[in-house]
Amino acid sequence: MTATELDLAPRPEQAAEPLMTLNGIRQEFPASGGRIVHALDGVTLEVQRGETLGIVGESGCGKSTLARAALLLRKPTAGEIRFDGDDALAMRGGRLRAHRQRAQMVFQDPNDSLDPRYKVLRSVMEPLLAAGVPRREAKEKALAALEAVGAPDGAAGRFPHEFSGGQRQRIAIARAIATEPELVVLDEPTSALDVSIQAQILNLLLELQESKQLTYMFISHNLAVIRHLSHRVAVMYLGRIVEVGPAAQVLADPLHPYTAALLSAVPDPDAGKRERIILQGDPPSPTQRAAGCAFASRCWLATEKCRTEAPPLVHSDVAADAHGGHLVACHRPGEGQEALRLGLRPASSTTV
C-alpha cells in the first residue's frame, strides 16, 4: 500500500485517544513453492473506546488473521499495535499476561474455548487463574460472569456437552468477559447458530456492551448482523481495508465498488427481487500481491490506473460528509453505487 497513514480530520465525538491502533499490519505466511501468502497487506485501523467496529469481508480476506494479530495471538510480520497508548508488540512476561486480561476473544465455535473434559466453571475460571487471580476470587468472578450472560442455573458444575449451541456460546462469552476486559474480539460469534438463537446472542452482546462498557471488534461475513451491531464498519478485501467509516454511511452509501457489490449480493428478505451486481470469478490468490488495487481483477469500473497504482485509503469528496471519517481506497469512489442508484446496469449485473 502506498498510504497507510489515516487521513484524520478532527472529529469532536472521537477526540479521545483510541483504545487500540493498528498501524500498517502485515502478516505473511510461507506457501508451497517458495511463494508467500500476504494475509494482511498493510492494515491500518483505529478502535475507539466503547464502539463496535465491524469487520466484514469474504473468506480469505484476512479478517480472522486480523483478529488474531490484534489479540497478539500471532505476531504480525510487520506493523505496530498500540493498546491504550502502549506498544503491545513489545510486551513480555507479566506485562503481556496483564494485557491479555484486557483483550479477550469469542470464537465462532464455542467448543474452541471450552474444554470438553472440564466443567464449565473451570473453563470460565481459566483466564482468571492464568492472570494470577487468587482461586477464590477467580471463582467469584467466573460465577458472576456466568450470571451476567444468563447461563442456566447450575451451569458452572456441568460439562459443555450438556448445553445447546446457543447456551455454549453464552458460556464462551462468560469466559471472555470474566477478566473484565476492555476489548472483546468476536469472530463470527453467531454464524453457527440458528437465527432465533442468533437474536438471543446479539441481544446479549448489546446488553453486555452497555453494562460493562465493552469495546467490540466484531468480525462477520454477515452484513445484516454487522449493520445491526456496529458503530463503524471496515470492509476487507484480500488483506487490505478497502473502505471504513460510520456504519450508516458505509452500508447505505458505499464508496468502494466491492462494498456495493457485497451489499447487493446479500439476499435480503425485505428487499425481495431487485437489481444485483453479480461479480464474476473468485478473488485472486493472496500469494499474488496486486501492484494496483486488489479488487481490480473483478471490478467492472477498473481502468489501467487501478491495475498499476494502489489507491490509498483516504477521505473522499463524494462522501456524504467529506471529513466524517468515511475512508475509501478507490480511484473511482462512489461510481459503483451511483450506477445502481440510477438503474444503470454495470456490465456484470443482473436482475433476479
Binding site: E58, H221, L223, A224, L229, P267, K273, I278, D282
Partner: protein, 335 residues
Amino acid sequence: MTATIATTDALAVEDLSISYGGGTPVVSGVDLRVGPGEILGVIGESGCGKSSIGFAVLGLLPTTARVDAARLDVGSRPMGDADEEDWNEVRGRVASMVFQEPMSALNPCMRVGAQIAEVLLVHGLADKKAARARALELLRLVQVPEPELRATQFPHQMSGGMRQRIVIAMALAANPQLLVADEPTTALDVTVQAQILDLLDQMRRTTGAGVLLISHDLGVIAQTCDRVVVMYAGEIVEEGVPAEVLANPSHPYTAALVASIPTTTTAAREDLPMIAGGVRDSDRATAGCRFSARCAFATDACAAPQPLVQVAPAHTARCWRSTEPELSTRTEVTA
C-alpha cells in the same frame, strides 16, 4: 442443450412421515408439490426435519429410518414402495442432489470431467466418447471458464464456488426432473452465493427441472423461490409465495422467525425480538399446535389439531388464529 421440458410434476408428496428407530416422527403429515421448472423453498431451523425430507425424496435415508407416505412421486415414478434397486435407477437420472459441501459430493482423486461423465456411464445413457463431450457441454452450461482445462483438473484445484458448479453440472448430467438442493450456498461467500443462486435460477429455466431448495436463510428463499413452505418441529406451518409469507407471516412462528433476523430495515443496535425456549421432543408428539408452548398468542384452543387454514389466495397457515385481523401485525413477540 437438448432440454426436455417436463409436463408432469417434478415431485408430488402426500402425507409424508419419517421416524427413526420407532421414535417420535421427525417429519409428519407433509404434503409437497414441485412443478416443472419451479423452485420450492423449504425453510426452518435445525431439527425441523427439512433435510430429512430432502433425503427421503431421494431414498437416501439410513435403513433405520421409517418413511411412510400416501404418495411419493419423483418425476413420473411412484416411489412409495421402491426398493434400493428402484432408487438406484432414479437417483442421478430422474432426481439428483446438490449438497451443502461440494467437497463431500466430489471424489478427490478423480478428474472432474470424468466424474461428470461417470453419471452418464453408470446409467448407460452414453458411451465414453459421448459422455466426455456431454461433460464439456455441461461445464459450459454451468459457466465454468476454460471447460477443457477444468475437466482435466481435480476438485482441490478449484475454489468452493467452482466446485459447487461442478456438483450442479453432475446433478444435471442426466437431465433430471427434480433437483434437491440442501443448503447449496451455505458454505459459500455471499458474492459466490449470488452466482450460484443465479445459476440455479437459469438452470431450472433452461432444463425445466423442478428444484426443492432447502435453506435456513430467509433471504436466499425470498430471492430464489417461487413458493415456500415453513417447517416447525416436523410439520409444515405455513405455505405461500415468499414475498407474501415474509411480508405477512400468518403463523406466529414464521412471524417470530422473520422478526428475529436483522435486515436492512431493522433498527440498528436495538434488541431483536426473540423466540423463548426451544423445541422439545414432546412438542412433536402433541396432537395440537406444536409451537403453542412458545407462542405469545396461544390459548386453550391450540391443544386441538390444527389444519392448514387459508389466509389469502395460495397462502395457508397452520394456526386457527391466523385470519384474525388484530394478529396480522405480529410485532408482539415474546422476549
